[in-house]
C-alpha cells in the first residue's frame, strides 16, 4: 500500500480509452463498476468535445460479483454493435476486472460471432502498466490486428508511395497540445514536400491502417506513445522510424536531418539544409530571441523542469542549450523509461530526479528555490505556494491547457510558443521580485484597489508609511476600516496614531 495524494500518470484503462476514442468510429466498452466512466467527463470537459464520447461501461455490480458477468458483456457488445455500427469495439479491462479474472477473451470471441464490427480485448494489466504504457500498447495492438487482417484478406498495401511520405504516429485525444502539434507537423511535412500517408490514432479510421506500410518512414513525435507501433512496423516491413521530438530549434533541425537521411537512403534526393537555415533564422523567432538583450537577462537563472519524458527532456535542452538558463533539476514521472531520460538530459542539468511522488518533487523545488518552474499543473500549484512562477509543459493538465487558440509545442511555430512561455514565466518572476524590493510600482496607489484616488481623506506621511508596512493582502481592508473610523469621528487627517486607534476599535 502506498499513501498517495496525487498521481501523475492515470490508470491503464485511461490509456486504452484515449486510443480507442481517438480513432473514428471505434467504440470502447469498459468492464467496470458504476462511476468508472469518468473518462467521458474528462473528454467532454477538457477537449470540449461536441460528440458523445464513444465509451460505455458494462457495469460490474453485486450480481456480477456473485455470478460472474455471464451474458452481460457479450450482450453489451452486441447491443453497441447494433446501436452505433462501429468498425471496432475494444473491450477495456479495469482494475476491477483485473482481479475478477473473468475470461474476457472468451467474451470477445463469443461476441465476435454475433457482431458485425471487429471486437478486441485490450491487452493491458492495471497493476503492471500505467496510462502511457497502456496507450502505447493498445495502439500497437490495433495496428497489428488490422495489418494481420488485411494480410489474411490479401489487401495489404505494401507498395511505397511515389513521392516521399510519412506516418505520424502518436497524436491522441487528451494529449498535451496534441491537436495543435498535429497541425504544425502537417504543415512542416508539407513544407518539406513529404506527403502525410496517415496520422494515427487521432481522427483515423481503422480501414486506413492497411495502408500504413505505404509510407517511406514513420515519425513518432512523442516518446511515450507510438514507439511500440513504429517498432512493430519496422519489424514487419523494415520501415525506418524517426523518434526525435521536433521541439525546440536544435531538436527540430535534428529531426529534419534524420528524416532527410532516411529519405535519401531510400533514393530520394532531398536537401533540407537551406530550409532549416531559413526557418531557424527568420521564421522561428526563438533563435533571434536567444540573442536579444531580453534573453541575456535570463542567463544563469535557475529553473526546475518536471514532466513526462518528451516534454521535460525537450524543455531541459531548450532552456540550457538555447537560452542559457541554468537547469538545476530535470525530472520525469515516467519511471519505466528512466534510462532514456537520464541519457537525454544529464549533460544539460545539475541533477536528475525520477519520481512519481509529488511530495518529493515539491520538497526538491522548495530546497532549490529556482526562479521559475516548468512542470505539470501540480508543479504550478507548488509554485503558487512557494511564490515561484510556473509554466505548464506537460500532462496532467487542466482545462486551461486545452487552449482554443493555436499553441503548438512542436515545429518552428512551437519554438515561438515555448519562447513566450519561458520568457513570460521569468519576467513575471522578476517583476514580482522588484515590486517586493521597492514596495510596489507606485507606493501612493498601491494601497487602493482602484486606479484613481477615490478617497476624500488625507493620509499623513507617517500614516501612509505605517499602512505600507501592513501585508499587501489585508492592506486594502485596513485602509477602508481606518477611513471609515476616521469619517465616523470626523477626523480629517489620518496619521499613524489614527490608524492604530482604528485597529484597536475593531479589535483586530
Amino acid at each position: 500500500m502506498k499513501l498517495a495524494y496525487w498521481m501523475y500518470a492515470g490508470p491503464a484503462h485511461i490509456g486504452t480509452l484515449r486510443i480507442a476514442s481517438s480513432f473514428k468510429n471505434v467504440h470502447a466498452i469498459m468492464h467496470a463498476p458504476l462511476g468508472d466512466d469518468y473518462f467521458n467527463v474528462m473528454r467532454s470537459m477538457l477537449e470540449r468535445e461536441r460528440d458523445f464520447t464513444p465509451v460505455t461501461a458494462s457495469i460490474v455490480d453485486r450480481n456480477v460479483l456473485a455470478r460472474g458477468s455471464q451474458e452481460k458483456v457479450v450482450d453489451n457488445i452486441v447491443r453497441k454493435d447494433h446501436e452505433e455500427h462501429p468498425d471496432l469495439i475494444v473491450l477495456t479491462p479495469t482494475c476491477t476486472s483485473s482481479i475478477l479474472q473473468e475470461d474476457l477473451q472468451n467474451f470477445v470471441e463469443r461476441a465476435q460471432l454475433e457482431a458485425q464490427s471487429d471486437v478486441l480485448l485490450a491487452d493491458v494489466n492495471h497493476y503492471r502498466v500505467n496510462e502511457l504504457q497502456a496507450a502505447d500498447r493498445t495502439l500497437q495492438q490495433i495496428v497489428q490486428f488490422y495489418i494481420e487482417k488485411a494480410r489474411k484478406k490479401g489487401d495489404l498495401a505494401t507498395e511505397k508511395t511515389e513521392t516521399p511520405s510519412v506516418n505520424i504516429i502518436g497524436i491522441s485525444t487528451l494529449g498535451f497540445h496534441h491537436n495543435h502539434d498535429r497541425t504544425e507537423l502537417t504543415r512542416l511535412m508539407a513544407d518539406l514536400g513529404i506527403t502525410v500517408n496517415a496520422i494515427i490514432p487521432d481522427g483515423a479510421s481503422v480501414h486506413e491502417l492497411k495502408n500504413l506500410p505505404r509510407a517511406w518512414f514513420n515519425l513518432v513525435p512523442y516518446r511515450e506513445l507510438g514507439r511500440m507501433t513504429a517498432d512493430y512496423l519496422t519489424q514487419e516491413f523494415g520501415m525506418p522510424c524517426v523518434d526525435i521530438a521536433p521541439m525546440g530549434v536544435v531538436e527540430t533541425a535534428r529531426c529534419i536531418r534524420a528524416m532527410q537521411k532516411i529519405l535519401n537512403d531510400q533514393g530520394a534526393t532531398v536537401d533540407y539544409e537551406s530550409f532549416i537555415h531559413d526557418q531557424t533564422l527568420y521564421v522561428s523567432q526563438a533563435t533571434w530571441f536567444s540573442r536579444s538583450i531580453d534573453c541575456q537577462n535570463l542567463t544563469g537563472k535557475k529553473a526546475v523542469v518536471f514532466g513526462d519524458n518528451t516534454h521535460a527532456a525537450a524543455l531541459t535542452k531548450i532552456l540550457a542549450r538555447e537560452m542559457g538558463i541554468h537547469v538545476v533539476l530535470a525530472g520525469t514521472y515516467c519511471k519505466y523509461d528512466a534510462d532514456w531520460f537520464r541519457e537525454q538530459v544529464s549533460e544539460y542539468c545539475d541533477s536528475v530526479l525520477i519520481s512519481d511522488d509529488n511530495a518529493e518533487i515539491g520538497d526538491a523545488i522548495a530546497r532549490l528555490e529556482p526562479a521559475a518552474i516548468f512542470g505539470t499543473q501540480m508543479e504550478r500549484h507548488v509554485g503558487k505556494r512557494l511564490d515561484i512562477p510556473c509554466g505548464v509543459i506537460a500532462a496532467p493538465i487542466h482545462i486551461q491547457n486545452f487552449p482554443i487558440g493555436y499553441k503548438p509545442f512542436m515545429g518552428y511555430e512551437g519554438t515561438n510558443q515555448i519562447a513566450d512561455l519561458v520568457y513570460n514565466s521569468f519576467t513575471l518572476g522578476m517583476e514580482d521580485h522588484l515590486l517586493e524590493i521597492f514596495g510596489g510600482h507606485d507606493t501612493k496607489e498601491v494601497i487602493t484597489k482602484t486606479m484613481t484616488a477615490d478617497s476624500d481623506l488625507a493620509w499623513s506621511k507617517d500614516g501612509l508609511e505605517e499602512l505600507n508596512r501592513i501585508p499587501g493582502f489585508v492592506r486594502g481592508k485596513v485602509k477602508r476600516n481606518t477611513e471609515k473610523f476616521a469619517r465616523e469621528r470626523g477626523i480629517g487627517q489620518i496619521t499613524a496614531e489614527v490608524l492604530y486607534a482604528a485597529k484597536e476599535a475593531v479589535g483586530a
Binding site: M1, K2, Y5, Y38, V41, S44, M45, D61, N130
Partner: protein, 467 residues
C-alpha cells in the same frame, strides 16, 4: 401538453438497465472532509479511484486536503502483504502528519472484491493507535454518487454518544446552540431556551454547509422547535447525543441507510417529511416536524408566499417549459417537484435508486403538486439507461435537460439546453432563502442561450445520418 390530456392517477415507476453515468460514491470525501473539520478520509482503493478523485475535485486537491489514497498494489491484491500491517503503517503516518480526531476508511470496489475485512481490522487498529476509525463502504458496485455520504453517515450514526455524562460535556457538544447565540452572555441563552416549546429532542441528519445549517435551525426555532444536534457536526468530537426515543429527520433524499440505522440501531423515531428544497418543500418539511410535535405552525404560509413572489422574475423564464432529469444524484424527485411547482412540465425523472419508503412524503408531494398544477405526472425511471434516454430526449426535445458532464456538451452542441446536475449537489439549495439559488442554476442555460440563440447557431454539429 394540455390539460385535456388524460392524466394517470398515480406515479409510474420503471427500471432500466443501469447503464448510466454518475460519480463514484467515493466523491463524498470531497465535501465531507470539508464539513467535518477534524477528520481524515483514507480511500482504500486503486489508481482508478485516485484518478477520479483528483480530477473530479479539481483545485481542492491542491489545498492540502485531509484525504488521501491508500493505493493498493499487486502485493496487496494477492495477499503477499499483510493488510493490517499496511494500514497500520499508513494510519500512523497520518496520525503523525495531521493528528486527526477520526480517520474514515472508505472501502472501494477492490476492497469488496478481495474481501478485505475493514470492519474487522478497524477496531483492532483503533485500539492500537488511539484514533477512532470509522468504516464506510462507499463503492461503485453498490452505490451511486451522493449515496457515498449516506454510507459514511450511517457509520457515523453508530458513533454518536448515547448519553451525556456531565453538564460541562453537554455544553461542549451543544455547538449549534453556541453557533446561534453568537457569543452572547450565558444568562441570555438560558432565558432563550424557554422560547422553545417543550418537545422530545430532535436531531437532523445530512451534511450541509454551515450557513445552511444555521438557516434551517433558525427556521425551526421560529416555530419553537429546538434542534438538539446535527449529524454530522462541524467536528467529529461534536457528534450529537442520540438516545432511544429521540426524533430524527433527514434533510436530503439520499440518506435512506442513515435513516434506517438511526431507526433500527439507535431506536429513533423518523419523521418522514418532504425535503426542504424549494419554498414548497421547506414549508412542508417544517409543517411536518411541527405536526409531529403537535405545534401549530406560525406564519409559514406568508413566508412561502413572500419567497414565491421574490422568485417571479426567474419563474417567468421557466413557466410552461419542460425539464428532463437524466438522473445521477438522487436529488431528482425533490427538484422535479419544485420545478413543477414553478410551472414547468416534466416528462421523465431518472434516478439511480428510489427508496419509496424513505422518500414517501416527497413522492406524495410530487403527485399532489402535479395535480394542483394540472400537469401530467412524470415517469420515474430507476437505474436509467443513458443511451435510451438520449433517444427519448431527441424525441421529446425538452427545454432543459439536467444531466452529468459526460452528456452536457454533446447535447448543447445539438441545440438542447443542459444544466450540469452536480452543481445542485454543491450549491446551497436548502431552505427558503436558497430557493433563488436553485432557480439561478436552472435558468442559467435558458438565460444564456436566449442571448446566443439570436445568432442562429443552435446546432453546432453536422447532421448525423441516422441509421
Amino acid at each position: 401538453m394540455t390539460l385535456s390530456q388524460t392524466q394517470p392517477q398515480s406515479l409510474e415507476f420503471d427500471c432500466e438497465t443501469g447503464n448510466y453515468h454518475t460519480f463514484c460514491p467515493i466523491s463524498c470525501v470531497a465535501w465531507l472532509y470539508q464539513k467535518i473539520e477534524d477528520s481524515f478520509f483514507l480511500v482504500i482503493g486503486t489508481k482508478t479511484c485516485g484518478y477520479f478523485l483528483q480530477n473530479a475535485m479539481g483545485v481542492m486537491i491542491f489545498a492540502e486536503p485531509r484525504y488521501a489514497m491508500a493505493e493498493l498494489e499487486e502485493g496487496d491484491i494477492s495477499a503477499q502483504l499483510n493488510d493490517y500491517n499496511e494500514l497500520k503503517r499508513l494510519c500512523e503516518q497520518i496520525k503523525r502528519d495531521r493528528n486527526p480526531s477520526v480517520i474514515v476508511w472508505i472501502g472501494t470496489c477492490t476492497t469488496e472484491i478481495i474481501k478485505m475485512d475493514l470492519e474487522g481490522l478497524a477496531p483492532k487498529l483503533e485500539a492500537e493507535i488511539g484514533i477512532p476509525i470509522v468504516v464506510a463502504r462507499a463503492n461503485g458496485l453498490d452505490y451511486a454518487f451522493t449515496q457515498g455520504e449516506d454510507t459514511v453517515l450511517a457509520a457515523m450514526a453508530q458513533r454518536c454518544p448515547s448519553k451525556v455524562e456531565t453538564e460541562q460535556e453537554k455544553e461542549e457538544r451543544n455547538a449549534i446552540q453556541k453557533l446561534l447565540s453568537f457569543g452572547r452572555q450565558k444568562e441570555e441563552i438560558a432565558t432563550e431556551v424557554s422560547e422553545y416549546v417543550d418537545h422530545p429532542p430532535l436531531v437532523l441528519f445530512g451534511s450541509l454547509p454551515d450557513p445552511v445549517v444555521t438557516q434551517l435551525t433558525l427556521e425551526l426555532k421560529k416555530q419553537g422547535i429546538q434542534v438538539s444536534g446535527w449529524l454530522p457536526a462541524k467536528r467529529y468530537t461534536e457528534l450529537p447525543v442520540i438516545e432511544e426515543g429521540y426524533y430524527v429527520c433527514g434533510v436530503n433524499p439520499f440518506l435512506s441507510r442513515t435513516a434506517t440505522t438511526l431507526m433500527r440501531r439507535r431506536k429513533c423515531k423518523l419523521i418522514g417529511a418532504p425535503f426542504p428544497i424549494g419554498p414548497d418543500g421547506t414549508r412542508a418539511w417544517v409543517e411536518k416536524i411541527c405536526s409531529v410535535f403537535g405545534i401549530e405552525p406560525k406564519g409559514l404560509e406568508e413566508r412561502e408566499q413572500q419567497i414565491w413572489a421574490s422568485l417571479e422574475d426567474y419563474i417567468q423564464i421557466l413557466r410552461g417549459k419542460s425539464v428532463f432529469f437524466m438522473g445521477d444524484n438522487l436529488l431528482e424527485i425533490s427538484l422535479a417537484r419544485f420545478l413543477i411547482r414553478c410551472g414547468m412540465t416534466c416528462p421523465e425523472v431518472g434516478i439511480p435508486y428510489m427508496d419509496k419508503r424513505y422518500q414517501a412524503a416527497e413522492l406524495a408531494m410530487l403527485e399532489q403538486t402535479c395535480h394542483e398544477m394540472g400537469v401530467p405526472l412524470p415517469k420515474i425511471i430507476e437505474k436509467p439507461d443513458n443511451y435510451n434516454q438520449i433517444q427519448r430526449i431527441y424525441e421529446l426535445q425538452p427545454d432543459l435537460v439536467i444531466t452529468g458532464m459526460a452528456h452536457a456538451n454533446p447535447l448543447e452542441a445539438r441545440g438542447i439546453n443542459t444544466k450540469w446536475s452536480v452543481e445542485f449537489t454543491f450549491a446551497q439549495i436548502h431552505g427558503f432563502a436558497n430557493a433563488r439559488d436553485i432557480l439561478e442554476l436552472a435558468t442559467r442555460p435558458l438565460r444564456r442561450n436566449q442571448n446566443l440563440n439570436e445568432l442562429g447557431w443552435e446546432k453546432l454539429v453536422k447532421e448525423e445520418a441516422r441509421i
